[in-house]
């Protein structure tokens, strides 16, 4: 088992990068910022690989099952004797796998950015932010305490904010980062309340204890949680659903997904890191982390997860077919793929064969990280080349950017589920799990995977084929080594990662799950995928107006999808019209005019009263004497007759 320091260094090295570059990144360390950040990340990645390797092949497996190890824990904030926020590390298959994914992708992005972000004025700051993000994400995956997750959850949110808003003088970027933060924050509210509920009934914030208590029907905590009900659902269900809301926000599940497409305002490598490979899967990770509770104690909540997942997957896929900004297409695709992961969890059971969905989901998470990061980085390479995000500015780039082209194609094949690329295996398992769990979801998923192939190849064709490249494009050059190296490396992974026997290592209860490959079952999805690709090539391989005609014939649906089903507008209506105008403005008005007005009124009335009674002091000495005499008489009568 690696020493605590080894594990601790995994997140702390990027953090050190953040601190150093945050303070000196503008001045002393501006030039070497990229190398410094990358070097630290490399070290971190190596340590992560070392740890994961050790865990999976050396010390992690005891009695045939992978154990949850907590090598380190310290009390950070004590609420009461039992309930405290502890900062610690948890090592289990889930976190070990995530460590690898996060550090690896992050390293790729670090390297990629060396070239992509070159010449940026805030180059050092950029690397600082990357470091912060990586630190937060690693902290999140290593969390041994539900509140610790929340802490890093928020930190991930803010570093995402920083990175999306990196070009802070662009109003659209500012709007996007605000939106991303606020929407996820809104979801975090659910998470927070969920934590409160779970911790109240579980009597602890520690994952191990919490899960143990809340999955054991005989424990007092469990009984209390099941018996307490609110609006017809048990407290435990509420807690689980609320926690899931938090996950849904971060993972851009419908209807909390609206921030993700806008988040593409950030630098493209950032999108690759955050909005494709790591942060957005935090929701999946969260559900997976609490999976025993979901699966054993609150199947109802798990259904919610499944349906939200599949609906998100489908909606996103439809929207993705209509978008013209290539990063937005990828963003919706990401949302769709995460939907896959979610519903895979949702249809899964706990333990053994029933836990297939769990393994499949995380397997998909793993492969998706590779090919989606690759897609984004490839798209970044294209954008770098043509200086535009719009499809109309692209086309016929295959000869001009050969490496990008090939790697992008591999990624597209992987995501489309074409064997033998990585995506095929993971998606296959998901569909298998769905078909076993819930046929309705299975069919929706099947359609969605067809759509996936279609929109991905739509993207691919429009970038690299479709028409001949414009004249100015010829002068450009594909990026240098730093830009291409990550592409190639990721492409290799995207091509080969599917052969990892994932279930052996990561499963719902820690015991290895042997997944068998069923070629018969694969026919339908593969066929659909190929159909999607062919359809896309029919529309987009050459420049023609077929797509427009079809779009025109499906006008209503197309416009709706193009406008992302008007969900943004709905949000805008709720925030602007309802919150600002109906709550905020009245609150401000009431405060100034009624609450404060009352205070002023008291003051003004006193002064006014003072003016009113000035006549009493008339300056006439005889009147004074009358008052005097009156006072005497009143007092006399008062005390003689009334108040003995």
């Amino acid at each position: 088992m690696p020493s605590i320091a080894t594990i601790a260094l995994i997140p702390l090295l990027p953090f050190a990068g953040f601190v150093l570059l945050g303070i000196f990144g503008r001045t002393a360390l501006k030039k070497p910022a990229g190398y410094l950040g990358t070097a630290l990340m490399l070290a971190s990645c190596i340590l992560a690989l070392y740890t994961a390797y050790g865990y999976f092949f050396d010390f992690g497996k005891i009695h045939g099952a992978y154990q949850k190890l907590v090598p380190f824990q310290m009390t950070w904030l004590e609420f009461s004797k039992d309930v405290s926020i502890n900062i610690g590390f948890i090592l289990d298959p889930l976190s070990a796998m995530m460590l690898v994914v996060v550090t690896f992708i992050s390293l790729m992005v670090h390297i990629y950015s060396l070239s992509y972000m070159k010449g940026e004025e805030r180059f050092g700051t950029y690397y600082a932010f990357l470091g912060l993000f990586t630190f937060s994400m690693l902290g999140l995956v290593l969390s041994s305490n539900i509140f610790q997750i929340y802490i890093f959850w928020e930190l991930v949110g803010v570093s995402s904010f920083l990175l999306i808003g990196f070009y802070y003088d662009k109003p659209s970027a500012v709007a996007a980062c605000k939106k991303a933060f606020i929407v996820t924050r809104f979801a975090d509210l659910g998470f927070l309340i969920g934590i409160l509920v779970l911790s109240y009934y579980g009597g602890t914030l520690d994952f191990g204890t919490l899960i143990a208590r809340l999955t054991d029907p005989s424990s007092t905590q469990m009984q209390a949680a099941v018996n307490a009900s609110f609006l017809g659902a048990s407290a435990l269900t509420w807690g689980a659903v609320l926690v899931f809301i938090g996950g849904a926000g971060k993972s851009a599940m419908f209807p909390l997904h609206i921030w993700l497409p806008d988040a593409m305002e950030g630098p493209t490598p950032v999108s690759a890191l955050i909005h494709a490979a790591t942060m957005v899967v935090a929701g999946v990770y969260l559900v997976a982390r609490l999976f025993p509770v979901f699966a054993i104690s609150v199947p109802g909540a798990l259904h919610v997860v499944a349906y939200i997942g599949v609906v998100s997957a489908m909606i996103a896929a439809v929207i993705a077919c209509t978008q013209t900004d290539i990063k937005r297409v990828l963003a919706y695709s990401t949302m769709s793929q995460i939907g896959f992961m979610m519903f895979a969890l949702g249809v899964s059971g706990y333990g053994g064969e029933a836990g297939l969905g769990y393994s499949a989901s995380l397997f998909h998470l793993f492969t998706h990280a590779m090919f989606k990061a690759l897609l984004f980085l490839g798209a970044g390479s294209v954008i770098h080349f043509v200086h535009s995000n719009e499809m109309k500015d692209m086309g016929g780039l295959r000869k001009l950017m050969p490496v990008t082209h090939i790697t992008f194609l591999i990624a597209c094949l992987a995501i489309a589920g074409v064997p033998p690329f990585a995506g095929f295996f993971s998606k296959e398992e998901i569909l298998l799990a769905a078909s076993r769990g819930n046929t309705g979801i299975y069919y929706m998923a099947l359609i969605t995977s067809g759509l996936t192939a279609f929109y991905m190849f739509r993207l691919y064709f429009r970038i690299f084929w479709n028409k001949e490249a414009g004249h100015d494009a010829h002068h450009g050059k594909e990026g240098g080594f730093a830009l291409l190296f990550p592409l190639v490396l990721l492409a290799l992974c995207a091509a080969g990662a599917g052969f990892i026997p994932f279930g052996e290592y990561v499963s719902s209860d820690g015991t290895p799950l042997h997944s068998e490959f069923d070629p018969v079952f694969s026919i339908a999805p593969v066929a659909l995928g190929v159909a999607g690709i062919l359809l896309a090539s029919w529309f987009y391989l050459r420049a023609n107006d077929r797509a427009d005609r079809v779009a025109a014939s499906l006008k209503g649906l197309y416009t709706a999808a193009y406008n992302k089903f008007y969900i943004d507008e709905l949000y805008l209506f709720i925030t602007k019209k309802v919150l600002f105008n109906l709550v905020g403005r009245p609150a401000a008005w009431i405060d100034r005019n009624i609450v404060d007005g009352a205070v002023n009124l008291v003051g003004n009335e006193t002064v006014a009263f003072s003016k009113l009674i000035k006549k009493l002091q008339s300056g006439k000495v005889q009147q004074y004497a009358i008052v005097f005499l009156g006072g005497v008489l009143v007092l006399a009568v008062l005390f003689i007759y009334i108040w003995h």
């Binding site: 009358i626 005499l629 008489l633 006399a636 009568v637 003689i640």
Partner: protein, 172 residues
Amino acid sequence: MNGSTIIFYLLAALTIVCGVLSVSTRQIFRAAIYLIFSLIGIAGIYFWLDYQFIAAVQVVVYVGGIVVLIIFSIFLTQQAGELLPKQKIGRKIFSVLAVFCGFALTMVQVYQHAFYENDGEAVKPVVANIGKQMLSTKQGGYALPFEVVSILLLAALVGCIVIAISKKEETA
């Protein structure tokens, strides 16, 4: 009904009627004269009560001193023959009301009060007794108040002089 009673009521009538006239007449000299008669009436009552010394003092100080002072000041300040200005009717009504209430209240209390009946041996209010006690420092002596009053008179004198006499410096 004997002579003494008649004299008393005559004196009482004189005192009250002249008092009322003094505060109601619109000619200032007449007011002063009525005041004198009212004060004389009171002196008569003192006399009737066998307090000759006080009666004498009353006549000397009031009639011979204060009222003369008042009349002098009337000379100094009043254009001859002018009627006094009328008071506002509202003020009058209020005053009458207040005064009547006060009077009623006082009299009710006085009549309801059972005054302590005392039949101890009386000290004759003759000049000898008064003089002796006035300058005594023993039981019932009034030497100290006497001194206080003398200082007061001195201070009043100084005050009067400053206020009324020092006209010259003001104009200078």
